[in-house]
């Protein structure tokens, strides 16, 4: 839990959050807005209905350069980095030497630029950067960019809103990335996010962040959104939260993230613990991450035990709560693989009582990514 003596960092938007009445909480070493006066429920629904602006400046941004930074990065991830075309972004897993998950991250190849642009999680960034720089010493060099802020504009109205401040940006499609100008500030914009909605992530020099955020918040469609709704949105979208749904105790197969392993990488078997992971791909694992929907209304929180219908423990919830868009509780967690099939009936042990639930396909709320114009 939070150490009261911990000195918390502030993002460039800290004063703006306070001005907008945010409730600030410690998160990954930063003082961050968990909710604004609208509250988590309204913020969540507003993002799915119109557009929400998130401050994700606490996340780690860096550039990886060298004679072949893609080849170098492939030493630490099973994602296809070398095959990523210019102007595209991709999701990857950072693996340790045992083949378990050190972090999940995004990497981009900006058009006409040799270095790769990386975004990693806030809570893991120091360790990640140390690991990447150390492991790739002599073949690639990592330039940290704590001077950059990161905003996410998410929701069905995100494109029309951003178009007003960055003409032409709405032509960008899902997982494409471009350098452009947003409200006059130089930015790296990708059409991506972590809510399951259409939207953008906007990386800016910190000095421009507040002005650009104010410009976006000045649009009638946009509300500021805190970490509370960010969590319920990503959970409904079936997306993992590092340190909860994935960590160094699980490999990509157990985490149901095999899709993030490149095809060529499977053939070349040249990523950390490749033999072990590929063996798991072909022969299965003892446990697997699944989506779970309780039959009743009571949410099952992280740490809740999962049992089979005879009462035997078969796993644990890693993220759980209430899904405002479904008006029902949702969760994800790990179960023994025999119970991982969709619609398998299970019990969740909440406050000593067995609550019936079912394994459910994810996402719980359909993704609405803009894959084509």
């Amino acid at each position: 839990m939070a150490d009261p003596n911990e000195v918390l960092c502030k993002t460039p938007l800290h004063a703006l959050h306070v001005e907008r009445g945010a409730k600030m909480v410690p998160f990954s070493g930063y003082e961050m807005p968990v909710q604004y006066p609208a509250g988590v429920l309204k913020e969540h629904l507003h993002t799915r209905d119109k557009a929400g602006l998130f401050d994700v400046s606490h996340m780690g941004q860096a550039f990886l350069s060298g004679s072949d930074p893609s080849k170098a990065l492939e030493r630490l991830t099973p994602a296809d980095v070398s095959g990523l075309k210019e102007g595209l972004q991709r999701y990857g897993l950072l693996l340790n030497e045992r083949g378990t998950i050190k972090d999940d991250f995004m990497f981009s190849r900006l058009t006409g630029e040799a270095p790769l642009y990386l975004v990693v999680n806030a809570g893991t960034k120091d360790g990640d950067f140390e690991y990447i720089a150390g492991e790739l010493k002599g073949i690639a060099s990592l330039e940290l960019r704590p001077d950059r802020a990161l905003l996410a504009l998410q929701g069905p109205a995100a494109a029309i809103v951003l178009e007003r401040h960055s003409p032409g940006i709405s032509k960008l499609t899902f997982m494409k990335v471009v350098r452009c100008s947003v409200a006059g500030a130089p930015a790296i914009v990708s059409r991506s996010g972590y809510t399951g909605e259409d939207g953008f992530e906007i990386s800016l020099e910190a000095i421009h962040a507040e002005r650009v955020a104010r410009a976006l918040l000045g649009e009638t469609e946009v509300l500021p959104i805190g970490l509370g709704a960010r969590d319920s949105l990503r959970l409904e979208a079936g997306l993992c939260l590092y340190g909860h749904d994935i960590d160094e105790t699980v490999n990509p197969v157990e985490a149901s993230l095999v899709w993030s392993i490149g095809k060529r990488r499977k053939l070349d078997k040249d990523f950390p613990a490749a033999e072990k992971i590929l063996d798991a791909v072909f022969n299965g694992t003892a446990k697997k991450r699944v989506g779970i929907r309780p039959d009743g209304k009571a949410p099952a929180r992280e740490g809740t035990e999962i049992a089979d219908k005879t009462g035997r423990a078969i796993g644990q919830i890693t993220s759980g709560g209430f899904g405002p868009s479904l008006n029902a509780p949702v969760a994800m967690g790990y179960v023994e693989t025999a119970f991982a099939g969709d619609c398998t009936e299970i019990d969740l042990i909440v406050r000593g009582k067995s609550m019936p639930a079912r394994v459910s396909p994810m996402p719980f709320v359909p993704h609405r990514y803009r894959r084509a114009i």
Binding site: V34, V40, L41, K42, S232, K297, P299, R301, G321, P329
Partner: protein, 124 residues
């Protein structure tokens, strides 16, 4: 004539004769945020003062509600299972949690008056 008293755990108790109606205060409801689920005690259950009696869940977290006074549960609010948001809309009225037959009036007398509770909240 009923009287309302408060606890430092942000529960309120309204006493009508020997029936105590219990809920969470406006301050507690604001701190919790949007309530999405409430688990209430069954009728007939005996709870001791300070014992766990109910659970209230917001989007983010679950919180226990303790019985401010001991007694036998005579009713729980049926409206909350249909519409838990009543706890935010009217925490000290329609958003009541449960009623119990008070075992010891002395326990009620020890709780904070409205004025003392208001002062307590101001100091937080």
């Amino acid at each position: 004539m009923s009287e309302v008293r408060f606890t430092d755990q942000h529960e309120w108790v309204r006493l009508d004769g020997d029936v105590a109606t219990i809920g969470i205060t406006k301050y507690a409801a604001e701190q919790l945020g949007d309530v999405v689920y409430v688990e209430l005690p069954e009728t007939g259950r005996k709870v001791g003062a300070g014992g766990e009696a109910a659970v209230v869940e917001s989007v983010k977290a679950a919180s226990e509600v303790y019985a401010p006074v001991g007694g036998e549960v005579t009713a729980s609010n049926p409206a909350l299972s249909e519409d838990p948001a009543k706890v935010n809309a009217d925490p000290e009225g329609e958003g009541w949690f449960f009623k119990l037959k008070l075992a010891d009036k002395g326990e009620f007398a020890k709780l904070m008056t409205a004025d003392r509770y208001a002062e307590f909240v101001k100091g937080l």
